[in-house]
Subunit: 486 residues, 2 copies
């Protein structure tokens, strides 16, 4: 049976919690004095459903039910967990938590979404204050995994453990803050950056957009996978954190931020930094960490490219420039067959059999087709392109990592809309034929999204290739259908 969470406060954070709990299979009872609370929670839930559908194919539990109630006591009544997300004013939070604590069973754990207020003070008027912890999430609550836990003077250790278990069940990553300090860990970092950002705008050094760009095209891409310490350890090279601190420690004395009160880099602090950084690296050397960092960066940038946003938009624009700069036409087209492409088998192409996956051969054939299209003078900006409509591949051999491959291309036929081509893929080292691909390409008007004749200058180039290929023997494997021999 579904458990119930009591939610004190809707809005962006409380509504986000509602979405995460509901999609995690919990029922939710939401108290918020605003008449908009139900609408905001509904919008958050719609966002969260959309995001989660994209995020994972894993089987999700049945979505819980949301009910909006009229008092904090009603929200807490019968709840197995209570999450408070009222505005960031101590008195408001204290009163809500106190009222709800009187309606909840003594065993029910309470968590506050506060960004930085101290849990000892928030719990002051509660019945059973030992069951309050900070449970500080990050917007959007339904997507970001981090939740900071921080106990007050009277918080019981098991309160932290039980809250962490609830959050883990929702797919989150609890971080227990070991000392009760204002703003905990994450918001101390965010607030320092945010205050500096406000100074940059106030001093007219940068606009808000320039500040954002200074993050999202640079360090922000790293911070998606690695925080500052591991990043700087890698920048320190083989000598690691201690070397990095030797290089950049002196800059701490420079007026490079408004935060000019800096900790003294004593030997003891340097020892702590180096030892904790070694523990974090867990035996991984700098080369391994560099590869991990780069792999994560590549995936992050490619992810953003799909949305043509931020660093992904920069990559997409650069790729367009690279395609435009690639030699559109090399030789005259009199080579028979054409030799237009070569490639190296990348390590990530290898499947569990130790050979390049069959789809990677099609990738090489696709690149060969792209090279052919550039060769005949196709201009991607001109509103037309060739799309592959059929491919017939034959697999004759295997390729291993780092082997060099090259392809040849024979034009089998054409009309004003079609290109019928036959590619062969060889291992360059010994000339072994590894695969063939017969393809039918159709010229499409990309605006109207339908088949259309290619431009006359393309057709002229195609005619020239066809003439050069007219005397080539037809490959054995062309024109075949697949069947089991009788």
């Amino acid at each position: 049976m579904a458990e119930t969470v009591g939610l004190l406060g809707g809005g962006v954070i409380g509504g986000g919690w509602a979405a995460r709990f509901l999609l995690g299979g919990w029922d939710a009872r939401l108290y918020d004095p605003s008449p908009d609370a139900e609408r905001v929670a509904g919008e958050m839930l719609a966002n969260a459903r959309r995001a989660l559908r994209r995020l994972t194919l894993a089987p999700l539990p049945e979505e819980g039910a949301l009910s909006v109630v009229r008092t904090p006591e009603e929200a807490a009544d019968g709840a197995a967990f209570v999450q408070e997300s009222a505005p960031e004013r101590e008195g408001v939070k204290r009163d809500l938590l106190a009222a709800a604590s009187r309606a909840a069973d003594a065993s029910v754990v309470f968590a506050s979404s506060t960004s930085g207020l101290l849990p000892t003070r928030l719990a002051a008027d509660m019945e059973h204050p030992e069951r309050l912890t900070v449970g500080h999430p990050f917007n959007p609550v339904y997507l970001l995994p981090l939740v900071e836990l921080c106990g007050g003077e009277r918080t019981a250790p098991e309160t932290l453990e039980r809250a962490a278990a609830v959050y883990r069940g929702l797919g989150m990553r609890p971080l227990v803050v070991r000392r009760e300090v204002d703003a905990f860990v994450a918001d101390r970092l965010l607030e320092a950056l945010w205050r500096e950002a406000l100074w940059l705008v106030a001093d007219d050094v940068a606009t808000v957009e320039e500040v954002d760009d200074a993050i999202r095209f640079g360090a922000g891409l790293r911070w998606a996978s690695m925080g500052p310490f591991l990043t700087y350890r890698i920048a320190g090279g083989e000598a690691g954190m201690r070397h990095f601190m030797e290089q950049f420690g002196p800059a701490l004395q420079l007026p490079w931020t408004k935060l000019t009160d800096v900790p003294e880099l004593t030997g003891a602090l340097l020892d702590t930094l180096a030892a904790q950084s070694d523990a974090q690296a867990a035996g991984r050397g700098v080369r391994e960490l560099e590869r991990l960092r780069d792999d994560c960066l590549v995936s992050v940038i490619q992810g953003l490219r799909a949305h043509d946003f931020g660093a992904g938009a920069v990559l997409a624009e650069h790729e367009r420039a690279l395609f435009a700069a690639a030699p559109a036409a090399g030789p005259g087209g009199d080579e028979a067959p054409l030799r237009l492409h070569s490639a190296v088998v990348a390590p990530e192409w290898i499947d569990y059999n130790g050979h390049a996956h069959e789809s990677r051969f099609l990738q090489v054939f696709g690149d060969t087709t792209d090279a052919l299209l550039r060769f005949i003078g196709l201009d991607l900006g001109a509103g037309g392109s060739y799309f592959t409509v059929e491919t017939h591949m034959s697999h004759l051999g295997q390729a291993r990592a780092e082997e060099r491959l090259n392809t040849t291309t024979q034009l089998l036929g054409h009309d004003e809309k079609r290109l019928h081509v036959f590619h062969s893929l060889y291992r360059t080292g010994d000339g072994a034929l590894l695969a063939t691909a017969e393809q039918m390409l159709l010229h499409v008007d990309t605006q109207a999204e339908r088949a259309a004749p290619a431009a006359p200058e393309l057709l002229a180039r195609i005619e020239r290739i066809a003439a050069a290929h007219a005397e080539l023997p037809r490959p054995d494997r062309a024109g075949r259908a697949i069947s089991i021999p009788a």
Copy 2:
């Protein structure tokens, strides 16, 4: 003909520049007094080649040649652009730039990689100081697009324009800093966060790993696509930046960071923040921005999942828990056709046309074949496996990033060594048929490396599937050969 860049200083930054320029088709002349310079640059180049091969399928220019020279003058001689990346000490940089400036043509632009020193002072001893700008990159230089440009008192405007053009040609995103201030824009933000991070460790509030976790599981995931201002605008909801500042402005007075010197939130500053934030949003409403933010977050987290790292590892673990909690299924093979596989179009599958690359469809078909082989009970340890010998694909539609796909499988024929199958690939959302793949699989004795009959228990399972599929109509697209219609 390739142009030449003169590089003053190797190391992590100078070596990174070498890799970016070389892979961008420039020749490079590197001066560095360290005997390790050539090795470090070579390692950077190996990293960069690996990263770039994963990042893009676009046609790259021919890689340039690296030569290591013995003086700064030799590095600058004949160069079209000079990039200085010496250690962060003003005197060292001034001397290098002065020496190199005497060897370079007066028209050659110089850029310094300094993280925060003032260009007016760095140019003081140069011949033609009007051609120096800051060109501050971020590690790894060969992957991160951001480069900050900042001129000094004597820098000519065209120096900034020409440097920006060089960097854009290398796929970078120049950000011109409008006022000459210590640490420019990005490093003021990074340094504020970094100093706060050092305080957290010095005060024993958090370890270096906990500080990193507080970033990479939370705000760091947002910062990969959006900086703080746009993020907070969205958090402000429909009322935007002004509303956010009303809510969180008062917290600026709280001791939430060591940076307690905060700008006064005057009416004029609030007006500036609101107006610049409106300009940044460019008419996009909060719902649209929320979707963009969420789409980017989903792609970033999925990208990290591929490396089982950071937030991606949290997701992967949660998915394992969800799968473990889901009711177990397992048809007996009587389903006709079989439904064995589903997938989501990953962002990195998208090519320059904005659709999934054709090879990725074959990847999904290959995964479907793998699912079929597991379904019939193939044990990879048993010395036999099925290899694909022929594939005939038909492309009927396009798939975009994040779309869900599912496949069906029909057994068309079999004998003791062969499986003749027909897969269909659908977009789950609207059921559109996007592609089909007819495949012939051959059973191979993997020790002897030749075709061999499959084991009797596999054949029994195949017979059962064949019986269930006997009445299915043969797909229209099965058994076809490729040809241009008459």
